[in-house]
């Protein structure tokens, strides 16, 4: 029999699906009394006599009054997420029913779960390690296929395994330096400096790659920010609406209507794009609009991609070149995508000729949805979505990013020290710092901050 965990003294209950209206809600109970408590109010089969991983239809009643018809899924310890007895009750998602059911379970001996408590129990009962627990938070929060895959990969341990191997290399390196320090008087061979330097170099290149993957990882999690820019009335909102299929942005014929920035999330090919529709970037005397222009530049600087939409009938090649130069002052040339709109009124071959010499240009009609598929394909390509399909590790967690940056910093300091007439004990110190920060990610070093950061990221009930 499984020994009793102090965390399993009581049974916890919480809503497991997001608050708000939907068709079905799931209420989850976990703890030694989970099945018993549910059984007290469940009318149907005797849940305490059912096998693990079985689903049962019945009604939940209070004082013989039926509150709802539900499906109860029974999990018997240790074969559950928390390794405790668990029941998941699927009910109709009315706030009244949910509240009523949870109160009923509490009346019968359960208590409300704290944020992250189900995962905390899973961790404490040995079901998950820390980095997996952290990944669960990401997994739950993932809204797209790509972010789901990323979290799932971490959940399986792929992420921390890679770093663990790196850390081991660094430990071996540190051991050589330590040997040299403590046995300097005793005729030992010194650690080979060029070799050490090469080792740091190769470790840093992996760390740097992980650091730079954060933008992508973060984008996958939070959506890739894309600014749509262009002169007023060029069809930015129309394009957005075409992608969105709903009229969320204001579309009007009066230049300058879109004064503030508006964001819309659109899922393309499993990746979330956050389209930021900005005011036009033309010179203006209108004060409010001037603020909008400055805001537009700020958004451009923060975004991964800038789509410059223009109407070829109103834009000369010289003007377009000037605009590219202007945009280049705020973002990299590579992330600028020039899109000629209103192809419904123009001729593609003619336009192509007009803008000869300007690379990577697309010709579309937002209104008539011409070449929109080409447009979305290009977006995916520019977002480096290809990186997601091969097996490269991508980080998406700010805590991981900070730890990697600190590791990298310590390694930079190590290399700098090697150039100067300082003793090995300072090298050893910097390497130890690097090891410490790496350990914070791989779970080789535990501290309260880390636990806090993991278990309080959960919404209640996970």
């Amino acid at each position: 029999m499984l020994p009793v965990s102090p965390y399993a003294e009581d049974t916890i209950v919480a809503l497991a699906t997001p608050a708000g209206t939907g068709a079905i809600a799931v209420i989850r109970l976990s703890g030694p009394e989970a099945i018993k408590i549910c059984n007290k109010v469940f009318f149907g089969k005797d849940l305490e006599k059912q096998a693990s991983h079985t689903v049962h239809f019945g009604t939940i009643r209070e004082n013989d009054v039926i509150i709802d018809e539900v499906l109860a899924t029974v999990f018997i310890a240790p074969s559950s997420y928390t390794r405790e007895n668990s029941v998941e009750v699927s009910c109709h998602a009315s706030p009244y029913i949910i509240q009523k059911l949870i109160n009923l379970f509490i009346k019968n001996g359960a208590r409300t779960a704290k944020p992250g408590e189900f995962t905390l129990r899973a961790f404490l009962n040995g079901q998950l390690d820390l980095s997996q627990a952290e990944a669960v938070a990401d997994l739950i929060a993932s809204r797209t296929e790509a972010s789901h895959n990323m979290a799932l990969k971490q959940l399986r341990g792929g992420f921390s395994n890679e770093l663990k191997a790196l850390r081991q290399q660094l430990i071996d390196f540190a051991a050589l330096i330590e040997l040299e320090l403590d046995f300097a008087e005793e005729d030992v061979e010194f650690a080979n400096r060029p070799q050490l330097k090469a080792l740091i170099g190769s470790i840093q290149s992996v760390i740097r790659k992980l650091i730079s993957s954060f933008d992508l990882g973060n984008a996958i999690k939070n959506g890739i920010p894309v600014v749509i820019s262009g002169k007023p009335n060029v069809g930015k909102s129309t394009l957005l609406n075409a992608l969105l299929n709903e009229d969320r942005a204001i579309v009007s014929e009066i230049a300058g209507t879109t004064r503030d920035t508006i964001e819309d999330e659109i899922n393309i090919g499993g990746i979330n794009f956050r389209f930021i529709d900005t005011a036009g970037i033309r010179e203006t005397s209108d004060k409010i609009e001037a603020i909008g222009v400055e805001k537009a530049y700020e958004k451009i600087r923060q975004s991964a991609l800038v789509i410059y939409l223009f109407d070829p009938e109103e834009t000369s090649a010289t003007e377009l070149k000037a605009i590219v130069d202007e945009l280049s002052a705020h973002t990299s040339t590579d992330s600028i995508l020039l899109v000629a709109n209103k192809l419904d009124k123009g001729n593609e071959a003619e336009w192509k000729k007009r803008y000869e010499g300007l690379n990577g240009m697309l010709f579309i009609s937002a209104k008539d949805r011409i070449h929109l598929d080409l447009f979305t394909e290009t977006l995916l390509q520019k977002a480096h979505a290809d990186q997601l399909n091969n097996d490269e590790t991508v980080i998406s967690n700010v805590r991981h990013l900070e730890a990697l940056q600190k590791t990298n910093e310590a390694l930079d300091d190590t290399l700098r020290l090697m150039e100067q007439p300082f003793g090995g004990e300072l090298l050893a110190f910097e390497i130890k710092r690097a090891l410490h920060h790496l350990g914070e990610i791989t779970g080789d070093i535990s501290n309260e901050d880390l636990l806090d950061s993991i278990f309080t990221r959960f919404c209640i009930g996970k």
Partner: protein, 620 residues
Amino acid sequence: MFTEYDIIVVGAGHAGCEAAAAAANLGSKVLLITMNMQTIAQMSCNPAMGGVAKGQIVREIDAMGGYSGIVSDKTTIQFRMLNRSKGPAMWSPRAQNDRYKFHEEWRYMLENTPNLDFFQDMVSGLLVNGNTVCGVKTSLGLEIKSKAVVLTNGTFLNGTIHIGEKRFGGGRMGEKGATGLTENLVELGFEAGRMKTGTPPRIDGRSINYSIMEEQQGDENPSRFSYLDFELPTEKRSCYITYTSPEVHDILKEGFDRSPMFTGRIKGLGPRYCPSIEDKINRFAERDRHQIFVEPEGWNTVEVYVNGFSTSLPEDVQYKALTKIQGFENAKFFRPGYAIEYDFFPPTQLNTTLETKLISNLFFAGQINGTTGYEEAAAQGFMAGINAHQKVNELHEFVLSRSEAYIGVLIDDLVTKGTDEPYRMFTSRAEHRLLLRQDNADIRLTKLSHDLGLASAERLQKVEEKIRRSDEIVKFMKGKTVEPTEINSFLEQNGTSQIPQNTKLFNLLARPQINLNDLITAYQPLKDFVNGTGQEIIEQSEIKVKYESYFEKELEMVSKLQRMEDQNINPEFNYDTLVSLSKESREKLKKIKPRTLGQASRISGVSPADISVLMIHLSK
């Protein structure tokens, strides 16, 4: 014949002497029992104190009012600050000592310590009342009462000496071993183990040809272990370096079939870090030579110690091989090297005060805990003596943390991790090495000891002056601006770039090429400011300037980890209630009974995940 003592210290080696002195100086009535009054503080192995990490320990003992530093300084025949080319955290004082004077000085200092009695006898058992020790039984059949007992038996418990196939009982060459005590302790429930160490042959210095060896002299301006001021001996002796050769190795190998190490006669584990010569040529077969360090045994003796040639091979093989070493061709033996096996008690049976978990008021210190080295022994003895005094007077425990002292690292390692081989201190064992330096042991520890009533007012006053004055100098340099014309020629001479504009003095000294003494000479305002300041304070100021940023970073790490150290664990905590602990870690935690979460995290076999589980539980 005896009144009741507060504390009985058994054994008068480095551990026992420091224990007796510390407890007596704190005011306890102490009896020091030794099997031989003529061998008090005998240097059983090489005639040297200190070295890398060990020198720092001696400085720490001295900073707290122990005797090892003073005795070493007064009997130093050669002093070197090792690792001068590295940073200050690596600087390690080391002295060659006159073996005879060393013993004499220790005995003199102990005889002049109040509250301290001596008795020559062998302790064969403990007097125990319930779970508390209340005295000792001796081989003469005496029962001597005390409130606490400190055992520092060294290599004497059931000691067995091996030379080739010869084997005989003894605690040291020519001295008998101690019997009865191990058996008594095992009966009381202690777990005992066996360890081994060794020593090289001693040679007649008149038979050695030093002219073909490399001479190693001491430092021109020798430093010292003690923070106190007193006259140092001036007469110096040199050490000599020579090497073994493939021919020497071949001869040694001929004796392997009669080696107690290789034939399995020695069961105890030997020190990996201080191996015998046969062990070295066996394990490092690819090396065609090993260093031999010839150490003089004193001012008034021709005897020399052949460091690096520790061996338990048959004496004829020892002799044949040694005489093939350059300079030893005509060597005459005073006595052959030997190995010694002895009983030790795994130190995980101790609390961080060095009191045993099993029997109250019983303390263990030194080689009985599985350590090797005079310095490690002395440190434990010193701490055990203090804690025995504190215990019998119902005062607070005196425990140093890992960020405060090597002594803290030493004891925490022993009681938390235990040891399979003789434990020797290294700087790498200290995670906060940059803070645990030989130059600041007084700054770290003197006040703590003074608060106990041990370190003298004179010591405290000295260290307070050192802190005050060095801070002043650093502040001066931070505030003082130098013009290019005043300093550029000096900078150029020292191979560092000239300054284009006014620069703070502090920033110039921070450059690795610049040292403070030169800067003082070159720059008059600084010279005026530091005028009359002692060299120790100048050095302290320089270290503060050059390494400030590192010390800050290190302190940051300390405070980060401090929360774990501050999280106490009840020794009676029931680990069986935590299901997700691995079986191994649960067993270890139940055995070690860590006092803090930090200590728990250092137990081998307890994983970070286990610590997270504990952490969550403790913060509930």
